[in-house]
Symmetry: C3
Subunit: 255 residues, 3 copies
Amino acid sequence: MHVPVEFAAKTFNVLARIRERAPRVHCITNTVAQQYTANILLAVGAVPSMTVSPDEVGSFVADADALLVNLGTFDAERRAAIDVAVGAANAARMPWVLDPVLIDRAPPRAELARQLACRAPAVVRLNTAEFTTLSGGDPAEDAAVRFANTYGTVVALTGRVDRVTDGVRQAVIANGDPLMGAVTAMGCAGSALVCAALTVETYSWIAATAAVVALGVAGEVAAEAARGPGSFASVIIDALHGLDAATLRARTRVS
Amino acid sequence: MHVPVEFAAKTFNVLARIRERAPRVHCITNTVAQQYTANILLAVGAVPSMTVSPDEVGSFVADADALLVNLGTFDAERRAAIDVAVGAANAARMPWVLDPVLIDRAPPRAELARQLACRAPAVVRLNTAEFTTLSGGDPAEDAAVRFANTYGTVVALTGRVDRVTDGVRQAVIANGDPLMGAVTAMGCAGSALVCAALTVETYSWIAATAAVVALGVAGEVAAEAARGPGSFASVIIDALHGLDAATLRARTRVS
Amino acid sequence: MHVPVEFAAKTFNVLARIRERAPRVHCITNTVAQQYTANILLAVGAVPSMTVSPDEVGSFVADADALLVNLGTFDAERRAAIDVAVGAANAARMPWVLDPVLIDRAPPRAELARQLACRAPAVVRLNTAEFTTLSGGDPAEDAAVRFANTYGTVVALTGRVDRVTDGVRQAVIANGDPLMGAVTAMGCAGSALVCAALTVETYSWIAATAAVVALGVAGEVAAEAARGPGSFASVIIDALHGLDAATLRARTRVS
């Protein structure tokens, strides 16, 4: 598939608008990822909120601009909160992102992910093992394209290279650094970035690709300054916070 | 209002006594803030504990020197734990701090905050939006002074400048750095610092002001060394840990 | 007791095998420690999972190579999850580590720790106050040796020096740095490292000692580069990630 969008400029544009508008992103995410996700959102100028209480998640989502639903640490209260939150997001026609963390490891979580995929997430962001579980084991190269078409969503498939497709277009992103896999919650935080991008870019495929590019480029910049995964986890936040048009122009690799 | 206290020396004195006594601070706080709050307390020499289990929070508070009640991530178990913990703190005449995080975003949380304000917190620490909700929308300049008098508490109102009042005196603190707003849980950790200060300084207005000054000055020192919010989050902990009398003398700005 | 093992080489060997095999470690741990524990495990090349949902913890443990049971933040859901997880680990003859955090502060937690000690943990890792509570106050010098014999387990007792005994052998480890006590969850993360070591070294006493040495040496390396506990928390992860045979040879102090 052809990629007619100039993603270096597009990504900077998305970042610039997030920094200007300070959109609110409500995150129902696992307790391992909450702090890092909040800090990644703050680094780009978004305003995170994190409650998982079913009694109040509705008010938070109503005031938000996008919603993240991450299935890690799958406790009872989170499941109830997810149901309320997705209902509120869809009622408000607010974009929401599904991150079905580790559904390949736990059948009950996979079942919930399949139900949620039918509730119109703007983007589903996941790795290959998770996608294989979600799509029922469809092994074909173009399974993600088919899934995107079937569910009317965008699939952002992360791995050695990242692939983002809406069923018609596909972006292949070759940015990033192996150290990103050595920091917990990096993927979860990436999904939160997709949420932030969706608040300023209504074309979900562009928003998801821009978020993946931004994090990948920040990761490359950070890897040059870090001495290991500990310092990398901090430095990538600095890099994302300071990401400018020139750096994106020099490093963005989307085909 | 006049500020007769020399807060540079006072703040150093409070820090020195915390470092010497290693007071225990029990924190009922949100899962986003738990790790950062614990690390901030450890950095000044206090000993944090964090359980939210209603079955055991009573024992922890009984052994503690101060209690933090933070309303972020407002789940059912935390609400039960708060009730037990505040009861135990008041029974032991132990100071406790209320941090009504984001009550402007969720009515049930605001209702709980109003009830807790009547249970004699030593200090209520919050931002303007949260204060407006807690005080029932009182828009006057001196609303915090009135609130402090009505409830017999100290209000620490954070913002571009921070204001701490006990209804009689008011300290206006001009320390800090904008990067503090780009790190999640910075405010929550600040409230925990107020708790630590209350364990060594019985005059709550001085304790709260000293804690706000300490964090603000550490933030200024850190901002000079940091390259963005990621490194800033670590470096401010280093700065707080090493904060000395000379730095406080050079930087404290209280009027 | 004599220590015939050359622990510098042994520790490097354990680290090398973890890096090669990427074992899965399931952690039921407190919310304060989850992120840091995951990052410590990733830094050595292990793969953490963290769910505490009783509905799915069984599947996660079945797919794991070792289990950590940490009693911090002792909520109802975690208690149910612990029961399921220990059952699954024992059924699979998978090693598991008990970390009875702060049982000296809360009787209900101590009672659970005593029950769990009877369910054949490979290693119990704890500090002196926790051990005194667990062992029923046995004050003798050799109480840990007796406990290890009685329960058929390894006791890793941390403090100014760390002592690891299986009831027959005892290793006294003099590595580490005081800054390790100024970072929350350092002990919890250390227990997770013991889990990772147990997946590649079946002799639990050697595995536990190697893990304690690795973290202690990384702490010494990090202390030389850090400016306080904030940067130390990141730098020790870098140091652990890059720990090599020469550094271990130069610094390991086991007697």
